[in-house]
């Protein structure tokens, strides 16, 4: 793989085996002996792709088109079918706003745990703690268990944590969806593009076409697990 490539996918197929089960005890019992109930679902078919270092790459497609499966394969969280090859140069991390908080812990404690998972040392987390809380506008609730937070407060906190993550490649699955009010969105957008994105490879999965058009260098359109088109945002969006 040449030095300027961050992610290379070769011959990627993904087949899920879905086990349907009955709802009643009787149905479940007899399904043990019938051999029925397993079916195959092709989530991705023959995907080949190269993403350059520093590129802002968008992935779009309808629900069920294979976007999230592809991101999980790029992240090496799940393997492709036999014969497929994933090559990654650098540390990759997937970010999504539905990330796990421990509801019993306070914002400060959750920042500590989540930031550590995202690659920061305890010293770095402590030095950035107040900044993260202030950015999420949660100064008054920093020591309140997050179980008392609204979903908006949780999203803002997670965004604030995630933009401090350390990796070379970020896979962002609907990362911008529904974060706070208009003022927060504007502030988050500025921080994201002025500080976070610089020098990093971003794979941006979204249904929001305005962000795809605004930020992406190239876009890929997926449909039923197949690549329909890869090109500039204008070219691909015209076909969507």
């Amino acid at each position: 793989m040449s030095n300027d490539i961050a992610i290379k996918l070769e011959n990627i197929n993904k087949t899920y085996v879905i086990h349907d089960r009955g709802n009643t005890i009787r149905e479940r019992f007899f399904s043990l002996f019938s051999g029925k109930g397993a079916r195959k679902l092709k989530a991705l078919q023959n995907v080949n792709l190269e993403i350059k270092k520093g590129e802002f790459f968008g992935i779009i497609g309808r629900n069920g088109s294979g976007k999230s499966t592809l991101v999980q394969i790029m992240n090496e969280a799940i393997p492709p079918d036999k014969g497929g090859k994933v090559t990654i140069d650098g540390k990759a991390m997937r970010l999504a706003l539905g990330m796990g908080f421990n509801n019993e812990l306070t914002a400060r404690q959750n920042i500590m745990i989540n930031s550590s998972v995202l690659g920061l040392s305890i010293k770095e987390i402590k030095s950035k703690m107040d900044e993260m809380i202030a950015f999420a506008e949660l100064e008054e609730f920093a020591d309140t268990p997050v179980k008392y937070y609204s979903s908006g407060m949780k999203s803002k906190l997670m965004f604030s944590i995630a933009v401090n993550a350390e990796a070379d490649i970020f896979l962002m699955d609907e990362f911008f969806g529904g974060v706070g009010d208009q003022n927060f969105k504007k502030k988050a957008d500025e921080l994201f593009h002025n500080r976070f994105v610089k020098g990093k490879t971003i794979i941006h999965v979204s249904h929001q076409m305005d962000s795809i058009k605004k930020y992406c260098d190239r876009v890929m359109l997926l449909d039923k697990g197949k690549v329909v088109k890869i090109g500039t945002p204008d070219e691909v969006l015209a076909e969507y």
Partner: protein, 260 residues
């Protein structure tokens, strides 16, 4: 900015510590007495055993039986709690596992560390009682507890590797394991004395948990060196379980994460 190996290793160790710390302390959040319960629980447990076995159940029994029982129970509890918690480990951490490529073994280190802190506090309470009320004394022999604990941790983490991975495919495992734990409690000499029961059944000593419970007592209550033959066998079996469990988890969990 390039991430150096040293920083990565330090961050990894810090993450293991943070996860263990949270796992251990989170159970006390929200309670009025908080972490004090970690000390109160074993303290009250010993007091209850003392009254139960001194006055209610075995009037004639030597009261040191309380310590005999307590060492067995806390050693068993470490294994039982860690293994039960391991069953749903991947399920609980699925968000992280599906999104961030972290070494899966770190979750197991955190789990063992968290449960070990509980065990260690119980052990300190036991030592305090042993010195204050039973006139036992401390000696260098107590240091033999370290290889015993290493063996216990190896065996436990090995079992945890198998359970956490198997549970992804076999969701009945948590129910089955509760029964195994219940049965296991009676096959390990926690309440009964292995010297009486074991005539002709020496093979039961090859259960590493039996060996560890017996050796912990030998070192702490009898102030004697452990039986090196049984300890070595238990350590070897534990190392085998830990290594084979690790490779089982490593190779099976990759594919298995799809099912979470």
């Amino acid at each position: 900015m390039p991430i150096t190996i040293n920083k990565a290793l330090r961050n990894r160790l810090e993450r293991i510590y943070l996860f263990a710390n949270t796992d251990y302390f989170v159970r006390y959040y929200g309670s009025k007495l908080g972490i004090l319960w970690a000390f109160l629980n074993p303290f009250l447990q010993i007091v209850i055993y003392y009254f139960a076995f001194s006055y209610l159940i075995f009037k004639q029994r030597d009261t040191s039986f309380v310590l005999y029982l307590f060492t067995g129970i806390i050693t068993w509890q470490f294994f039982a709690e860690a293994s039960k918690s391991a069953i749903t480990l991947f399920q609980r951490q699925r968000y992280i596992l599906q999104n961030i490529d972290l070494p899966k073994i770190d979750f197991f280190w955190s789990l063992i560390l968290s449960k070990f802190w509980g065990y260690f506090i119980n052990f300190l309470i036991f030592l305090a009682f042993s010195l204050a009320f039973f006139h036992n004394s401390l000696s260098l022999t107590l240091l033999w507890i370290i290889p015993i604990w290493i063996g216990l941790a190896m065996f436990t983490i090995g079992v945890c590797f198998y359970l956490a991975t198997l549970y992804i495919f076999l969701r009945d495992l948590d129910h089955l394991w509760s029964i195994v734990i219940m049965a296991g409690f009676w096959t390990v000499p926690i309440i009964w004395d292995y010297k009486i029961i074991f005539e002709g059944y020496e093979f039961m000593m090859y259960n590493p948990l039996t060996a560890f419970v017996v050796q912990v007592r030998q070192v702490t209550l009898q102030n004697q060196m452990p039986d090196l033959k049984y300890l070595s066998i238990a350590l070897l079996i534990s190392a085998f379980i830990a290594i084979s469990g690790y490779f089982f988890m490593k190779y099976k969990s990759k594919k298995a994460l799809e099912f979470l």
